[in-house]
């Protein structure tokens, strides 16, 4: 392991961290702008041009607010809750392929922090641990509403994880690998997985909404029933971490959707670009294309949020257990038959 390799990876990891944070920051701005657009309002426009400095102003406000602690015997767990939520939201980006490769000073730089054999399972593992942030925080708040909310969030995430995993199995049967890098590379040209796995994509999309606690699945922070949900007792930057973690999760799950089903960094004519314009230019364009896809999915999340009202809790459980799981199993069987017949 030479020092250049360590420098390269460190720079790359810091860059991913910065990009995730900036994307999460500007998602809050975009959310307000999209909401305003859909409701025929103007949205934030005071701080900076078009309200572009609004996220910074919000951050300043959260930092400057009073640190309030509820009357809880579990002060430590109360602090740990948002920390877990934030760190698990950031950990998933380690295995994401952000692009193919670049050639800098004669070195081939793979645009991925690490390419492990079980990348997709790693993502699932981190997602399943992420629920502890909400559960521990909600419980340590020593508040019945927070506890109800965290219990809701936990049962929702556990139920939708099953359908999510089953929808991925059908995809894995096609790709034959768990490495996100290879899945991305297999979709070169217009060979996007969404054309082969439309049902799987739909199930995965719905489950991604549920896993990130976004409307119509945001039962955990249902204001009319639970005040503010699991972060009722939180204030200042701890509250900011919870809100930020949600947007970071949204960014990461959009990235997963783009990588798994929408061809990752591939775009039509990429091979032509590599041959005629150069590897670097083609792959930088690939990164841009990936970010356009991610931004589209982030917009999609917001679009849904301001269009569809929230479910009732029994409807949510009904959808998860009685519709999505059987549908995912049927999808696996149909995929298996298709692979047997056509290959």
């Amino acid at each position: 392991m030479d020092s250049a390799f360590i420098i390269e990876k460190s720079v790359f990891i810091v860059a991913i961290f910065a990009v995730t944070m900036i994307m999460a920051m500007y998602s809050t701005w975009a959310e307000r702008k999209v909401a305003a657009y859909l409701q025929d309002r103007v949205g934030p426009n005071r701080a900076g041009w078009g309200g572009l400095l609004q996220p910074l102003a919000d951050g300043m406000k959260l930092f400057a607010k009073e640190e309030f602690f509820p009357n809880t015997p579990n002060r430590f767990l109360f602090i740990v809750g948002p920390a877990i939520a934030m760190s698990t939201a950031l950990m998933t980006s380690a295995v994401m392929p952000w692009g193919d490769k670049l050639e800098i000073f004669g070195r081939t730089v793979i645009l991925q922090a690490t390419d492990i054999d079980v990348a997709l399972l790693y993502v699932f593992g981190i997602i399943s641990v992420g629920v502890y942030g909400i559960m521990i925080g909600g419980w340590a708040s020593n508040n019945k509403f927070s506890l109800m909310s965290s219990v809701r969030a936990a049962s929702q995430m556990v139920s939708y994880e099953i359908a999510m995993g089953l929808s991925i199995i059908a995809l894995l049967m096609m790709t034959g690998t768990l490495s996100l890098k290879e899945i991305a590379a297999q979709q070169a040209g217009m060979n996007w997985n969404v054309f082969y796995q439309p049902v799987g994509f739909l199930i995965f999309l719905i489950c991604a909404f549920a896993e990130t606690n976004r409307t119509p699945f945001d039962l955990a922070e249902c204001e009319s029933e639970l005040i503010g949900g699991y972060h009722t007792e939180y204030s200042s930057m701890k509250m900011g971490f919870y809100l930020f973690a949600e947007y970071a999760n949204m960014f990461i799950s959009s990235a997963i959707l783009a990588v798994l089903y929408f061809g990752a960094y591939n775009y039509p004519g990429m091979q032509w670009m590599v041959d005629n314009v150069g590897v670097n230019a083609a792959n930088i364009l690939g990164i841009v294309v990936l970010f356009i896809k991610i931004c589209f999915f982030i917009f999609f999340y917001m679009w849904i949020r301001w269009t569809i009202p929230r479910f009732r809790y029994d409807q949510l459980m009904h959808l998860g257990w009685k519709i999505l799981i059987p549908l995912a199993i049927v999808n696996i069987m149909v995929t298996g038959i298709c692979i047997l017949v056509f290959k």
Binding site: L77, I116, D117, V118, L121, Y122, F124, G125, I127, S128, V129, V131, Y132, M135, I136, W139, L147, S150, V151, A154, S155, M157, V158, E161, L178
Partner: protein, 170 residues
């Protein structure tokens, strides 16, 4: 000392400490959280052995699924110190007997097991890759694998049946 050895000692100490704290903490939620940490540190042991797949499955199944459900139930029950059932003396006696029997088995295993003296030979095959694992599992260990899956299926049907029956009696 090599970095691997240092990591191992650190992980082993962490695993043992969290396992003891699981038993000794008064608050059931704290116990559950210590158990989660214990599970995650066992994942670290698997990673040290270069078994990526087993490590990730440990994280998903134990830390991600089983412990979430356990924590969930404990939170819903909201156990207090007053609720703690007083254990009769016979239970404690039974626990001691079981512990002694269990330690006898473990001690015999440790005495009889031989330490690996020979060098590891490199077969050129990447045994941590899931492709190799899948091939071994579905060729050499096909029958036990199928039996395990049938066992899981039966357990699942049993669970559904138990919840159904309760509904009918009401």
């Amino acid at each position: 000392m090599s970095p691997v050895l240092i990591t191992f000692y650190f992980l082993a100490a962490f695993t043992l400490a969290t396992a003891f704290l699981t038993i000794y903490s008064k608050n059931p939620i704290h116990s559950a959280i210590y158990l989660v940490l214990c599970m995650v540190s066992i994942m670290g042991h698997y990673l040290l052995l270069n078994a990526q797949f087993v490590a990730i499955v440990q994280l998903i199944v134990y830390a991600g699924a089983i412990m979430v459900l356990m924590l969930f139930t404990i939170m819903l029950m909201n156990l207090n110190k007053e609720d703690e059932v007083h254990k009769p003396r016979i239970t404690r006696l039974g626990a001691i007997v079981v512990f002694i029997l269990m330690s006898m088995v473990l001690i015999t295993i440790f005495i009889n097991s031989k330490t690996i003296m020979g060098e590891y030979d490199s077969t050129g095959e990447d045994f941590q890759s899931i492709k190799v694992l899948g091939k071994v599992l579905l060729n050499e260990y096909m029958v036990p694998f199928e039996f395990a899956s049938i066992l899981l299926l039966v357990a699942m049907i049993g669970t559904v049946l138990l919840t159904k029956k309760e509904k009918d009696q009401k």
